[in-house]
Every structure is written in structure tokens, then in C-alpha cells.
């Protein structure tokens, strides 16, 4: 074995660990890359390095997934995304049990898949955002001051909107049933920060609208 090649590999593995040095977001990667580099520096031949390359190479892959998921976890926690955070939480819990690199990618894909279903079920509780203007319309038609002759027409228009809101909720629940058995709309969920942040209204207005919505759709 050419000693120059061995020296070149020492420099290469040192560069790999240097890449993560002083970056707190990649502390796990730095630590494992450093171990890998140290093992390389201590070797007298590439043959000696073979076992460490496999073992520590896998550790480096796991460390990188950990760092990336710690970043994701921190990010979603900061934004109070209680469902979106689940994938990274689960990956972090299971990642150390991975035997092979393929196991790592399988766990990552599986957890992201599971979480995406939970997230879309949770996002469905935002239905009031889509229905907000219709709830307002009901109020408008019911409260508008009009000649007696047109009052029943206005009540009828409000009733039609109420019917469409009820049908919309039934359809949503039917569509979600195959994804999560027994899923039911809980309008109050819209008050949780991850949904509330999307509504450009005061919290008191949202609470008021939810109360009206619940009385219309019987939930």
C-alpha cells in the first residue's frame, strides 16, 4: 500500500470531521466523524481501517440523521407544532436500533409517513378557516334589516348556508374515516396555536365564531 494514499485518507477523514467542527447543530456528527477520523489517523494501513470504516461509518450516518432530526424537533417545538414534531421524535427514539443504512432510511420514511397522516387529520380541524366567511354570511342574512316581505327569503338564504356547512362537515368526516377510524371534527382545536396563527382575527372573535359554528353543525 502506497503510504501517500494512507496519508491522503488521513487528511480526507480529518476534513470530514472539520466540516462539522464548531457547529452546535451538528454536535453528534462532529463527535462520530471525529472518532472515525481518529481511528483513521491511528491506522497503519487501509486494511486496518476496514472494520472501523463500516462500524463508525454507520455511526456517522446515524449521527447525521440525529442532528437533522434534532433540528427539525427544535424547529417544530418552537412553532408549537404538536403533530408535525412527532416524526422527528419517533426517529430520534428509534434511530439507535438501526442495524444497517437501509434500516435508517426505512425508519425515516415510515415515521414521516405515519406523521403525515396524523398531520393531515389535525389540519382538518382547521375547517372553520374555510367556513369563516359562510358563518359571517349567516349572521349578515339573519341580522340584515329588510322589509317584512323579504325576511323569509333572508332566513331561507341563511338556512341554505347552514345546510351546506353541515353537509361539508359530514363529508369531511366521511373522507377522513378511512384514514383514521372514528375521526370527528373538533372546532375548538382551531384555538390551538398551530391553527390559530393562521386566522387574522382576535382570539375572542375566534372563540365567538367557534361557538356559532358548533351550534350550526351540532358538534
Amino acid at each position: 500500500m502506497d503510504n501517500n494514499i494512507l496519508e491522503e485518507y488521513r487528511l480526507y477523514y480529518a476534513a470530514r470531521s472539520e466540516k462539522y467542527k464548531n457547529n452546535p447543530a451538528y454536535a453528534n456528527s462532529y463527535e462520530t466523524e471525529k472518532r472515525l477520523s481518529d481511528a483513521m489517523q491511528a491506522c497503519n494501513s487501509l486494511e486496518d481501517f476496514k472494520d472501523d470504516a463500516v462500524k463508525l461509518g454507520k455511526a456517522c450516518a446515524i449521527a447525521l440523521v440525529k442532528d437533522e432530526n434534532l433540528l427539525e424537533k427544535k424547529y417544530y417545538e418552537k412553532h408549537q407544532e404538536t403533530f408535525r414534531v412527532k416524526a422527528s421524535e419517533q426517529i430520534l427514539e428509534k434511530i439507535d436500533s438501526c442495524e444497517t443504512l437501509l434500516d435508517i432510511s426505512t425508519i425515516v420514511a415510515e415515521e414521516n409517513n405515519k406523521t403525515s397522516v396524523e398531520v393531515s387529520m389535525d389540519d382538518s380541524h382547521r375547517k372553520i378557516i374555510d367556513d369563516w366567511d359562510l358563518i359571517d354570511e349567516i349572521e349578515i342574512y339573519e341580522n340584515a334589516v329588510v322589509p317584512d316581505k323579504y325576511k323569509s327569503k333572508m332566513v331561507g338564504m341563511a338556512a341554505d348556508i347552514k345546510k351546506s356547512l353541515i353537509e361539508g362537515v359530514i363529508m369531511l368526516e366521511e373522507n377522513n374515516e378511512p384514514w383514521q377510524s372514528g375521526w370527528k371534527l373538533i372546532p375548538e382545536k382551531a384555538l390551538e396555536y398551530r391553527h390559530l396563527r393562521l386566522l387574522p382575527f382576535l382570539k375572542t372573535h375566534v372563540e365567538e365564531q367557534i361557538a356559532k359554528y358548533k351550534s350550526i353543525i351540532n358538534r
Binding site: L11, L71, L102, A109, N113, V117, D136, V145, W179
Partner: protein
């Protein structure tokens, strides 16, 4: 009835191709068998379900997508390992060549994919695709519903006639090849890969030095496409600036560019970390999301109020029963009467909600940034003199049980183009400016004349009103 083959093939086609790829490479074994069994299950469910939503839900809940990908990866991995050659001693030159060859192959693949996409975008199969869509409608839509449209034969004939007319008028209507060529040009990315290849082919290069220098010069990150990301942001900014929906949209794209440069500058190799970039961009979007929603709500609500005032006042004009929406009512005359009686009550309730949610009164609308923005960029439909007329003459009369005087009805009617001697003064005469700006951006991006080769010319509004001038609009002061 199983899922329609058009939809099922769209979902399963990729997986089927992956199985074919393994067969072509003579791959087999327990993982390949499991991969095929997973595919069979996906196909079986496609034949059992008739509802796409239920089908998709079962695929996800049985984790079939992930399982298939996992077995596929396990099937092909030993193959790629064996190709890398594990027998014999260490051969640096061979390993370096293998790495460089893989990059050369990547360039060939990227260029081929680009050319294939351009070919596809030429729209030569547009008519065939339309036919596939019509066949889908015939197979899946309710017969009664189709009869209401004159029956499938009539729908087919009409669709083909419309298609032929479009092609006759605009032969490039379905040809997006120039757009794909400009927007998806991979040369910047290829340049980064070529730089790595050049490095690998330097005399005396070894594999470990090649790998190390990629890290030390940031070439490995450049290959991930950071240059393309920044170019994409620049293109997005150009488009936003051509027709900014709101100042918030401009702020977002500027903040993203600033963040990109900040992360790039903080990096030793001037290449931002893609994960940090992703979360930074999401932070920026989340920070402004509520402001965008608020902006949209306010704009929509005052537009709605102005529109209601316009419609209410129009309903009094003698020609109103012949106009939309009243003309389509069972009794157009009674419909105009109904608007006259109910609109003021509705408008007052909408005003109350607007005030409640955003604290904006009718007269404060015109000082609000959303209004000034819509005027500045000519997104507002109405002319200045017409808005002034609505504020000064119509709004004060808009009260429940109140009606417009004959004099006001006459004044209102004069804003409309009725007959050859009158002119429209209702419409903003520069309402076509946003479309002009899009045309200008389009031609600048995709080549002079490209817009007109695909789309109709931007029509100027025939309005006798003067352009908006906020200096003379006292309600914004």
C-alpha cells in the same frame, strides 16, 4: 367498480417500472419477491376499491409505499455493491475513475431528463391527453349528468372543436418547451458537477484527495444545487416585483435572499447548509403568514362593500333587468326590486363585521395600505371618479328602507356604457396594467413575442374615466 385504469396506472406506473428495472438487471431474491408481493397488494386494492380517497388511505395505512421502496432499495443495494468490486487489493485509480464516471453519467442523465421534459412540454400529445380526459369522463361520470351536457358524443365534438380553434388561433398554445427550457435549465448544476469531474481528472489525483478537496472547496455542496436555489429566488423576486400582491410578498422574498446570503457568508465555502436554509425560509414564511391573511381579508371585505354599493345603485337603472345577475333570474324585474330592498341591510351588516374584526370604518378604507396598494398597482376595478361617486352620493343613501332619488339613478346610469353615444366611466382605465406587466415579464423571461404566441393580446379597457391620481383623491388624506 375498481379504480379507473387512468388513475390507477398513474399511481402504479412508477412501481411497475421499478419492478421491470429489477427484472432487466436480473435481480432476484427474497427482497425482490416481497417487493413484487407489495405491488400485487397495491394492485389488488386498486381493483377492490372504487373510491380514490379510500384506496389512498389503505395504501398509506398498510404502509405499502414505504414497504415497496424499502424492498426495492434492499433488492438493488447488493447489486450496486457488487458492481463496485470488492475483490482484490485496493486500486485507487479504478475507484477514482468509478467516482468520476458516475458523475459523468449523472450529467448525461440530467441532460437527457432535461431534453425529455422539453420534448414532453412541446404539447404534441395535448390532443391525445384531452381524449384520455374525455374517455375518463365517459367512464366515470354519471350518465344523467352527461346527458345534461348533451351526451358524451356532443361533449366530445365540442371539446375537439374548441381544441382545433385554439390551435388554429394560437399554434403554440400547448407548447411550453421554451418555458421549460428557461426555467429548468440544468447547466448551472451541470457546471458544478463538471467542476468536480475536472478536479477528479487533474493529473496525479487520488480518490481521497479528490474527496477531501470537494469538502474543502465546497464543491460537494455546490453540487447539491445551492446556485440553482439562489437563481430560483431571483426569478421569483422578478416575478413578484412585476405584480406584487402586497408589500408583504416583496418583504418575504427579500428576507429569503438576505437569509441565503447571510448563511452563505457565514459558511467557510460560501454555500449555505440546506437544512438551516430550509428552516430559515419556513421561519420567514410563518412570521408573515398572519399578515398575509389579514391583508387578504381586509382587501376582500372593502372590495365586497364597494361592489355591493355598485350593484345596489345599478339595480335602480332601467336597463338593470337586462344585465347580469338579474337577467338570469326567473323574474328579472322582481329581482332588481329585491336587490333595491335588501342590499342596504346586507351592506350595513358587512360594515359592522368589518369594523368589529379590523376596526376599519367605511371612510377609513381609503386611507388603508391595502386600498392605496390596489390603486398604485391598478388592481382596483373601479375608476377614481366612480369610487368618489359611490362614497359621496351612493353610500350616504344606502340605509335600510331608503331608496335612490331619480336624479341619482340617472347619474348612476351615466357611468355605464349603454348605447353608442355613452361611455363607460365606471372602470379603472388602467385596469389592464397588471396584465401588461405580466406580458412584459413573460417576454423578458422567455423571449420577445413569446407571450403573444401563446396567449391573447392584453385588452385595454375602454373607459372614459381618467387614470387614478391619489394626489387628487381627498379620501386617502
Amino acid at each position: 367498480m375498481p379504480i379507473d385504469p387512468m388513475m390507477l396506472n398513474a399511481i402504479l406506473g412508477t412501481f411497475k417500472n421499478m419492478i421491470e428495472e429489477c427484472k432487466t438487471k436480473n435481480l432476484s431474491g427474497p427482497d425482490f419477491d416481497k417487493m413484487c408481493a407489495t405491488y400485487d397488494r397495491m394492485e389488488q386494492l386498486g381493483n377492490e376499491h372504487s373510491d380514490m380517497n379510500e384506496y389512498n388511505a389503505q395504501l398509506m395505512n398498510e404502509n405499502l409505499y414505504v414497504k415497496f421502496s424499502d424492498f426495492y432499495a434492499r433488492t438493488i443495494t447488493p447489486a450496486s455493491n457488487s458492481q463496485s468490486g470488492d475483490g482484490g487489493g485496493y486500486d485507487d485509480a479504478a475507484l477514482l475513475k468509478q467516482n468520476v464516471d458516475a458523475l459523468k453519467q449523472a450529467i448525461i442523465t440530467i441532460r437527457k431528463a432535461y431534453q425529455d421534459t422539453i420534448e414532453q412540454a412541446r404539447g404534441q400529445d395535448a390532443e391525445a391527453n384531452m381524449q384520455l380526459g374525455l374517455d375518463y369522463i365517459e367512464r366515470n361520470f354519471d350518465k344523467e349528468y352527461l346527458s345534461a351536457g348533451g351526451g358524451i358524443d356532443k361533449i366530445n365534438t365540442r371539446a375537439k372543436k374548441d381544441f382545433d380553434e385554439i390551435i388554429k388561433k394560437k399554434p403554440k398554445a400547448f407548447d411550453n418547451s421554451v418555458e421549460v427550457e428557461v426555467m429548468s435549465n440544468p447547466e448551472v448544476l451541470i457546471k458544478s458537477i463538471q467542476d468536480v469531474i475536472d478536479l477528479g481528472e487533474k493529473p496525479g489525483m487520488t480518490l481521497p484527495r479528490f474527496l477531501r478537496l470537494q469538502i474543502e472547496t465546497g464543491l460537494d455542496k455546490a453540487m447539491e444545487g445551492s446556485v440553482s436555489t439562489r437563481n430560483g429566488l431571483e426569478t421569483e423576486k422578478e416575478y413578484i416585483l412585476s405584480n406584487p400582491i402586497s408589500p408583504i410578498h416583496i418583504q418575504i422574498i427579500e428576507e429569503k435572499l438576505e437569509k441565503f446570503d447571510e448563511l452563505a457568508n457565514a459558511n467557510k465555502f460560501n454555500v449555505p447548509n440546506s437544512t438551516e436554509l430550509k428552516y430559515s425560509f419556513e421561519d420567514i414564511e410563518r412570521l408573515h403568514e398572519n399578515d398575509i391573511q389579514k391583508w387578504d381579508q381586509i382587501k376582500t371585505r372593502w372590495n365586497d362593500l364597494l361592489n355591493d354599493l355598485s350593484v345596489w345603485s345599478l339595480s335602480y337603472c332601467s336597463f338593470a333587468p337586462y344585465m347580469y345577475p338579474w337577467a338570469i333570474a326567473e323574474d328579472p324585474f322582481a329581482a332588481t326590486k329585491e336587490t333595491q330592498h335588501i342590499a342596504p341591510g346586507i351592506i350595513k351588516e358587512k360594515e359592522k363585521l368589518f369594523q368589529k374584526y379590523f376596526g376599519i370604518s367605511f371612510y377609513e378604507i381609503y386611507k388603508h395600505p391595502t386600498f392605496l396598494w390596489e390603486v398604485k398597482y391598478n388592481y382596483i376595478d373601479y375608476s377614481q371618479e366612480y369610487v368618489e361617486f359611490l362614497i359621496e352620493k351612493i353610500y350616504p343613501e344606502c340605509k335600510p328602507f331608503n331608496h335612490l332619488s331619480d336624479d341619482l339613478i340617472e347619474q348612476r346610469g351615466l357611468f355605464c356604457k349603454r348605447g353608442k353615444d355613452s361611455k363607460d366611466r365606471e372602470t379603472n382605465p388602467q385596469r389592464h396594467f397588471p396584465s401588461e406587466r405580466i406580458k412584459e415579464w413573460y417576454d423578458k423571461k422567455f423571449g420577445e413575442g413569446r407571450y403573444l404566441s401563446k396567449y391573447d393580446a392584453v385588452e385595454k379597457y375602454e373607459s372614459a374615466a381618467k387614470p387614478w391620481n391619489l394626489n387628487s383623491f381627498k379620501y386617502c388624506k
